[in-house]
Amino acid sequence: MIKTIHDWLFSVMPEWAASLTEMVLIAVFYLTLFAVIGLYLVLLERKVAAWFQMRKGPNRVGPWGLFQTMADALKLVTKELTGTTKADKFLYNLAPYFVIVTALVAMSVIPFTQSVQAFDINIGVFFLLAVSSIGVIGILLGGWSSNNKYSLIGAMRSGVQTISYELSVGLSLLTMVLLTGTLQLSEIIANQQEHGWLILQGHIPAIIAFMIFMIAGTAETNRAPFDLVEAESELGAGFHTEYSGMKFAYFFLAEFINMFIIASIAVTIFFGGWLSPFGITEGIIWLQPIWFTVKVVGIIFLMMWFRWTFPRLRIDQLLKLEWKYLLPLNLMNIVIMAIVIWLGWTI
């Protein structure tokens, strides 16, 4: 279908106009996807939280509360934007866009199905890591420019945390790249189509890498038990204390999109992306996005489970966990993976 639209566009208008229209169409598609994913992840989070806490969760707006988050978003859009008088206005207004744009850009390389991937570059994994780590600049700016001590503490924590856990995310993915020999996400999936999911191919080192990735990924998205950035019992709301209305919604949605991105990476790298388990429905194209969604929701559920069960770490414990445990383990794991590949012990 995408091919048909592409051909049709190029047949009716000049090449530059067709390309431009295509870009706009893709951008609109991704923005819609972005909003839908963000809003429904918020709903899922609230429902999951309710299940864990013996509550019913949102159930008033629409059946099963399906329009609750839409209504919330509408409220946030129409709300007045209040800010502090002594804030650094330019940076204060810029910060939410940093966060939301990086989340959107990172989404462009994720292969939702075999054909739906906006940007299939040969350094896909590297691109994802690079882009997702820019988001922290938005958080730092927001905390710094708000002229609020709690925000500043939150922003500083965020900086420390992201810089530390970036290493673990990168190294755990590197372990898997070692196995596939390519950074291109579509080829990583092609490899898995041929030889089976990477978590099975790489067995023990792959499982260790997956666990490290999940811990570091949760920390990357600033979610509990690593939510020191907004630690509401310590810092009020942390870096976004002074934001209101739509700007707050940007931070809020970006958190959920980042969670989606981390889950998508985990699914793509470890669980074969849109592939069906053991190729049982291979060839049925319309099942690809469904498999992808099922896997992503599974990983996201795991992350929500963390959040509603664990207490929060303290900042020094957070750093100790990364630098003294995860990083050495990760480096060792890469060596183990290399040995496994060298000796041909992969499945």
């Binding site: 864990f52 806490q53 503490i153 630690a231 019992s233 310590e234 664990f310 900042i315």
Partner: protein, 374 residues
């Protein structure tokens, strides 16, 4: 020389002040802490009180003794029945009034139910303060049952006003015994869940073990009481030492932990809930028959003199001091609240720790601000 100087100058840090409160999630009310912080490390804490001061002690001088009982509900609202109990005991002591055994036993049972209700709420909030949000709902599930029992018996769920000088306002509800037994069965099953969700969690242990240490010596010199004192190994249970109501008739252990850190204060409270259940179980089947109140005059006039009685609330030792000149009002009334002296020790416990330690330690003190500021 120059090199050292440059290094020192370029890494010059500065301490700064942060107002934690009066509106802050961790201060559980309107407590204001003026923190001096160096980065994340706490250098000094100065509690600033007075945001919820309602001059209860002054109002007592205006009121009759029956009215004073109602005011005490608003001090430590989580152990309102125990506060009422303290005032009634003081008045009864001064009038040399002996209440019936039935009153004593019912008061004790409700005291202990109040203690469990207070400790479950504390547990929920403790979890929230260290970042585990689900604890709050588990705690409320169990606390709700106790509140329903209270509602059935005395009409109120929080500020109960069930005690009057000389006895109780009315008899227990016919369902009371059945409902309390149901609760005990329920809670015996559910209390181990608290351990599996929070106590045995590695992150929680790391957050609380060795954090906010209050030594045995400091516990005594700061005059802390209740679970905070017992977490430091200081035996201070008023129920044991100066037994009142029906506590001398029951077997229970005073829970003592000697580490003095946040985790040991936490464990004291969890263990106290087990002990409270033990006390209720011993009494619930043996409520003696008898009158629910000894008749007093409509206007109670205390004899001239000073009277003091202390009880063990969920937070520690609550002392009630009445200075009477023989009229229908006290000349001077003073409450020795457990929260204030427990809060005083905060600086001793937390300085040198991180902001996260402060929040965890404060949660383990189980502060109720209206109790500190009366």
């Amino acid at each position: 020389m120059t090199k050292d100087k440059i290094t020192n100058d370029s890494f010059k840090t500065q301490e700064y002040f942060v107002n934690m409160g009066p509106q802050h999630p961790a201060t559980h009310g309107v407590l204001r802490l003026i923190l001096t912080i160096d980065g994340e490390i706490i250098k000094n804490i100065e509690p600033d009180l007075g945001y919820i001061h309602r001059s209860i002690e002054k109002m007592c001088e205006r009121d009759s003794y029956q009215q004073i009982v109602h005011l005490t509900d608003r001090m430590d609202y989580l152990s309102s029945h125990i506060n009422n109990h303290a005032v009634c005991l003081t008045v009864e002591k001064s009038l040399e009034l002996e209440v019936t055994d039935r009153v004593k036993v019912i008061r004790t049972i409700i005291d202990e139910l109040t203690r469990i209700a207070s400790h479950t709420l504390w547990w929920g909030v403790m979890g929230m303060d260290v970042g585990a949000l689900t604890t709050y709902f588990l705690a409320f599930r169990d606390r709700e049952m106790i509140n329903d029992i209270f509602e059935e018996t005395c009409g109120a769920r929080l500020t109960m006003n069930y005690n009057i000088p000389g006895g109780l306002m009315n008899d227990i509800h016919p369902n009371f015994i059945k409902r309390v037994k149901e609760f005990l069965v329920h809670f015996r099953k559910k209390l181990p869940e608290y351990d599996s969700l929070l106590t045995n969690n590695v992150i929680f242990q790391k957050r609380t073990k060795g954090v906010g240490i209050l030594s045995y010596k400091d516990a005594i010199s700061y005059g802390v009481s209740g679970p905070v004192a017992r977490g430091s190994g200081y035996s201070s249970d008023v129920r044991k030492i100066h037994s009142y109501a029906a506590y001398d008739k029951v077997n229970f252990d005073e829970v003592l932990f000697t580490e003095g850190d946040t985790l040991s204060r936490y464990k004291v409270r969890i263990a106290e809930m087990w002990e409270s259940m033990k006390i209720i179980e011993q009494l619930i089947d043996n409520i003696p028959e008898g009158d629910i109140s000894v008749p007093t005059k409509a206007v109670i006039k205390l004899p001239k003199g000073e009277f003091y009685q202390k009880v063990e609330t969920a937070r520690g030792e609550l002392g009630v001091y009445i200075n009477s000149t023989g009229t229908k009002n006290p000349y001077r009334m003073k409450f020795r609240s457990p929260g204030l002296s427990n809060l005083n020790a905060l600086n001793q416990m937390v300085v040198g720790g991180k902001i996260g330690d402060l929040v965890a330690t404060m949660a383990s003190l189980d502060i109720v601000v209206p109790d500190i500021d009366r």
